[in-house]
Symmetry: C2
Amino acid sequence: MSKSIFYHAGCPVCVSAEQDLIHLIGKEKVEVVHLGEESSRIEDAEKAGVLSVPALVTPNGNTLHINFGASLDDLKS
Amino acid sequence: MSKSIFYHAGCPVCVSAEQDLIHLIGKEKVEVVHLGEESSRIEDAEKAGVLSVPALVTPNGNTLHINFGASLDDLKS
């Protein structure tokens, strides 16, 4: 099974959601991407339908926006 | 380990998120509550910090709001 991708930007809301989801889903099944540090991956996130972080893109391509930390536009500057 | 609780109200956004999360976390680890049908449980959801559905309350008590289907206030009428 392919991995889910958890996109975040290091904000407290993101970190809290990350810890919970990794615990629930299993660390080996989730790739974690920090868009604040890896801005080259913002484009991938947008293509997957991510509008804000934290967000989880599931193996079947659905994007789940979780709580609300920051919009992707805020990460581009 | 205690279960997570997934609160929803049957809307398309909820059902899509439900299928994904149950698949990722495992059906046996998630209790699903339809607040449109079980309105007596809205109070529990509110106590857990749920503001809108779909939402996942994790075993350690954190509430993750996922995408946005409906606010709890809309389910009370």
